[in-house]
Amino acid sequence: METAQDTIQQTEAKAETSQTFFKGTGSQVLLNGLITEGVKTIFGYPGGAIMPIYDALYDYADKLQHILVRHEQGGIHAAQGFARASGEVGVVFATSGPGATNLVTGLADAQIDSTPLVVITGQVFAHLLGTDAFQETDVINITTPVTKWNYQVTDANEIQEVLAKAFYIAKSGRPGPVLIDITKNAQIQIEDFPEYVKCHHIRSYRPKPKVRVEYIEQAAELINAAKKPFVLWGQGVVLGTAEEEFKAFIEKTGIPSAWTILGESAIPTSHPLNVGMLGMHGNYGPNVLTNECDVLIAIGMRFDDRVTGRLDKYAKQAKIIHLDIDPAEIDKNVKADVGVWGDCKETLPLLTKLVNENKHETWLAVFRDYNQQEIDQVITPELYPEGEEITMGEVLRNINEICDGEAIIVTDVGQHQMVACRYAKFNNTRSNITSGGLGTMGFGLPAAIGAKYGAPDKTVIAIIGDGGFQMTPQELGTIMQFGAEVKILILNNRFLGMVRQWQQLFNDKRYSFVNITSPDFVALAKAYYIEGQMVNEREKLRTALGTMINHKGSYLLEVMVGRENNVFPMVPQGMSVSEIRLK
């Protein structure tokens, strides 16, 4: 095989700007395109069908940092963490067949959580397609339901246009994962390539509509007439970088506002109009009062069933205003009286202009009353426990006291996730990174690695259960090799806690296969040259957390927490949000 190097006539200047014609391989033009798109970090894992791209990458080490993960699932979760922390597009490389199929969970996760990713997979030679060639899998068809868009490139001449489209699609409108599958012949094909042109328009794709003032006027009218308005915000606020616009809107109207776990850190936890978390393990007030408000203003959230509980008993008394960039979300689960289709970065300022200044003091006080009940019955016992066992809540309280809301907190999935979302304090947007829609165990550790690359100046704490940690522990190897400074906090209850909680509450304590044993996590970390310790007693907890956070480098802290602690409040599945249980 003719090697690419023989014929490269590329100069540094050409690679940087792609201004002039470029002669080289498909792989090189791909990497140049990535650089033009502003990519600096790639998470990936090589293999036969993507070798030409990796070969080209060898010459780009000064411009493209490649993080070799230990499993493709780790790679894509890392890219998700990167994208969520930085607001940029996460990029993943993987080979064909097993490499590509290992990406499916991450794609599904990114799709449902609207995370912008560009995933490049290698594919067998075009002439072998459909022959069950070695490591051939039908990646396009496997990934179709879990991507916003995908495309198979069989000719190097397609690469530039497809890559440009991929970036445009991944980050515009409602963001999402995009996959490009490139056959090996296209990777090695040598061509004269034109200048790389970024994509800004696709004929058949309308990422966002021109905002219609009629919607805004109708919404404003409802809001101005409302006695008990209530805002629910989701990740749309963050994805639209509309945090300031959102804050301006709620501050002018004085409307109590609650969040979905993906919207969480868009405004500081301490904001006086931030009344807490929605949904199954959300706060008492926001859930109960959803069924008492007169106007419900949903902003960049999609009424997931974990948020709404039983739909036929959800906010029936309220007029619903739904602001969303994705028209398919409006009226999908909850019928809107006014659907404001548009980018909330544009719609919110227009709305803010038309709404009256207000305070809603008495209405806000109702939330505070409920909050006080929750503090007395749930929060205080959780954060300041009197029993001997360490609670997850008190771990979070200590983190808040040490980090003062400045850390990025990445969570895995389970009880610890709900506890972290409930109790962690945030001052900055993009600080809460969690797998929401898919609820993917194994997300936490790799996503935290990615988050550190996305926000290198921040302290990144990964909070993970003993079960979830055992799903992707191999990424300790990535930390070892590349030195991403991640604080790993395992909350070990020696159970698959969340499932156990359900079994306790709804299955008569029939603890079927939730009793999980763990290796010596600290020794495991040590095997990867990562410092760590385990704590069992409350007296040592604060110091241990301090040691972890102040340690230079990664650190693993395992905290043994109460075995059968539960996360409350809880809206039992199939119940209405107003039937939320405090215990």
């Binding site: 339901p145 916003k148 800004h200 058949s204 021109k210 009218e221 994705d326 028209p327 006014v338 404001v340």
Partner: protein, 212 residues
Amino acid sequence: MSTEDKIKYTEDLVDLDGKQEYTITVYAENRIGLLNRIAIIFSKRKINIESLNSSASEIDGIHRFNIVIHEGYEVVRKLARQIEKQIEVLKVYYNTNEEIIWQELALYKVSTDEIAEKVTVERLLRQYGASAVVIRKDYTVFAVTGHREETDALVKALEPYELIEFVRSARVAIIKDSAGFHEKLKEFEAEEPGEELVENEFLEKGGKIFTM
């Protein structure tokens, strides 16, 4: 014009929950794999496609799908939005049978001997407006275009006379009220969509909300 636009004026004429036949018309870029993306939208929701036709449209490079399903209005409306969300899809319309002109083509293979011998068959064929496509010694193929009931009726009628083979195409449909897709296309081709051409799908409830 989509059913949705109609609904706002004639809400009580249409049974919103009741299932009926809807023809979904999809205009899309002609791209490999798109059919799969569209099909998944149905299969994911366990909705059966009664008939699906894909063909070129009057516009170069743009394909047109006609998809027939038996569903309620709400389901169809949501499906249409999900289909329209696909990157390559330009526009989706959905219509009840009253709103479209539609045809299916059916081919019938019958023994030529039977046809020749039995005059009634010939009369039958004339009665159903069938035309002979091929006449051979051993068999003859007839074609009929029409609605399902019409093509079905001829199947019934031919069964006693050695109907060797029968096939029916998917439905093709043209929307009665549509002003044509050309106008719409200009909007899609424009770098920035023009103001007056932007979709206005959620305004229909305007009148109602102000009476809170």
